[in-house]
Every structure is written in structure tokens, then in C-alpha cells.
């Protein structure tokens, strides 16, 4: 990645202009042509540096007021199979493996979104049954202390 890539990524994290030709406007701020910007963005999308170009909604406002981080214990030999199945459920937004600790044996984590706590419980029960999982920890949130989008390549600004 060159300096221009970093600059583009920095600028693309700002508010997206809701105008007819947004990429032209952004390119103008960066000081490059619209074609150059579109070409680079398409490249990032192709090589996976951009995993999604689009919108993320405020889930509470659109009715998904409850969420739970559910951590599971899955036998090591079944991890890939089970995680792939869990990930297929549309209520699951994130599904990761993670290392275990002596007092914390959970190895697969799923973030689940629903309209109520009861619905979260029902989804988790369903996932447990379908995948034959008995050990889990349901980590409901009590308070959101921070939720932001990462600002990439802004480390210099942070130390100003």
C-alpha cells in the first residue's frame, strides 16, 4: 500500500456524501480524479481490503434492541463444521474462534441480534440443539460504554 492508498482509506472513513456523484466529490477532496478513486476502491474490494461497501444500520432504531455475545465450547475436531453452521444463521452477525484460558474454556463466539431477550434465548437454544452443543456462556450486555468504527491510518493524528 502506498501513501495515496492510506490517504484514500482515511478520507473514506468520513461521512459519505449523499449526492449524485459522491466519488467525484471525495476525489476532489483527495486531489485525484474520480476514475483514479473508483479504480483503487474497486481494487480494494477485489482483494478483500474492503469487505463491504454499503451501509450498517443502527440496530436499536431498526427494532433489533437485544443482542447477546454467546460463547460456546466446541470439541476441537468439530470446530470448523460447527462454526460454519453457526455462521449460516441470519441472526448471527459475527462468528469467530478464539483461544481458551484455564478458567475460560470457550472457543467459539457468536454475536446474536434479535428483537428481545426472549428471542435471543430462543435463537441460542435452537443453535445449541441443531449443533448438539451443551456448554455455553450467554454474555448479555448491561451497558454500552463505547461503540465506534475504527479510524484506520490515523495514528499520527491520535498523538497530536
Amino acid at each position: 500500500m502506498d501513501d495515496l492508498d492510506k490517504k484514500i482509506i482515511r478520507v473514506m472513513q468520513d461521512d459519505f456524501p449523499l449526492v449524485c456523484e459522491p466519488y467525484k466529490e471525495i476525489a476532489g477532496h483527495i486531489g485525484i480524479t474520480e476514475e483514479e478513486l473508483i479504480g483503487r476502491l474497486r481494487r480494494y474490494k477485489e482483494n478483500g481490503q474492503i469487505r463491504k461497501m454499503g451501509a450498517v444500520l443502527q440496530h436499536r432504531e431498526v427494532g433489533f434492541s437485544s443482542n447477546v455475545l454467546c460463547a460456546w465450547i466446541v470439541e476441537p475436531e468439530r470446530m470448523d463444521e460447527v462454526a460454519t453452521e453457526l455462521a449460516k444463521n441470519p441472526s448471527v452477525s459475527h462468528c469467530y474462534d478464539r483461544n481458551t484460558m484455564p478458567d475460560w474454556p470457550y472457543n467459539i463466539y457468536t454475536m446474536i441480534h434479535a428483537h428481545s431477550r426472549a428471542e435471543c434465548n430462543a435463537i441460542v437454544d435452537g443453535l445449541a440443539k441443531e449443533n448438539n452443543l451443551s456448554e455455553k456462556a450467554m454474555l448479555f450486555s448491561i451497558k454500552e460504554w463505547k461503540k465506534t468504527s475504527m479510524r484506520y491510518f490515523c495514528e499520527e493524528d491520535m498523538h497530536k
Binding site: K45, I50, M53, A83, S141
Partner: protein, 150 residues
Amino acid sequence: MLTSFDKALLNVLQTGLPISKHPFADLAEKLDSDESIVLHRLQALKRDGYIRRIGPFFDSYKLGYAGSLIALKVADGYMESVAVAINQYPGATHNYEREGRYNLWFTLLTPEPGLREQILTEIRALPGVIAMIDLVSKKKYKINVQFKLK
């Protein structure tokens, strides 16, 4: 209240905004609508707080950042001071108090291992932090925050 057009628009926009000269005209075509209506509704939906962000969502690892999920046991009476201290780090993007033995969970993204070690050492030393576990992921099976609106 969201109209059925708003819901259709948000469903499409969650799956993708074209990288093209007239992306909103392209979206409008998919919805049998026109560009000016799409832009007008999106401005309203953004203003009213339905949309968290429009734009590219990056794969942190492919940009050279490493991340993990860190869980803390925080003693009674220290939750706020510990949470606020963690929030100061720009790489701590999500920070939630949760039910369970470990009661504070945050994600940390950093561009270099040295900085990460330094941040974790500082957080472990905060008054009220009884225990800390650092949960690193080797494989991400899914990242797709998408809400199908009906």
C-alpha cells in the same frame, strides 16, 4: 416509522453500494425508483439515526492491523473508571459491560504488536482490574452486520 420503500432501500444498501459514477442512480434502478427520491430518503434516514454509517467497511487484518477481544474482571465500584480509561484508546472500538464472571469486554485493534502489549499492560494495571484474559482469533467465520427489515 419506516415506510416499505425505506425498508427496501435499507435492505439493498446494506448489501452494497456500487462503486460507480452514479451509485445512487444504480440503486434507484434496482428499486424501480429514481435517484432524487433515493437521495432524499437516505438524507432523512441518516438524519433520523437509522443509518450508522455508509461507506467502505475494511478488513482490519488486510490493512495490517491485529485485533483481539479482551475480557476483564472489574471490582465493584471501579467499573466506570476502568471503562472510561479503556475508551481513551482509539483502537478500543467496542467496550461493553456484560453479565458473567468477566464483566467488561472490549475489542482492541492495533497496527503493531509493541503498542498492543503496552496498552494491555497499562489496562491490566488500572485500579480495580482483578483479572484480564486476551482472546485472539485465528479464524473469522463470519462478519456481516445486516438486519433484514420486513
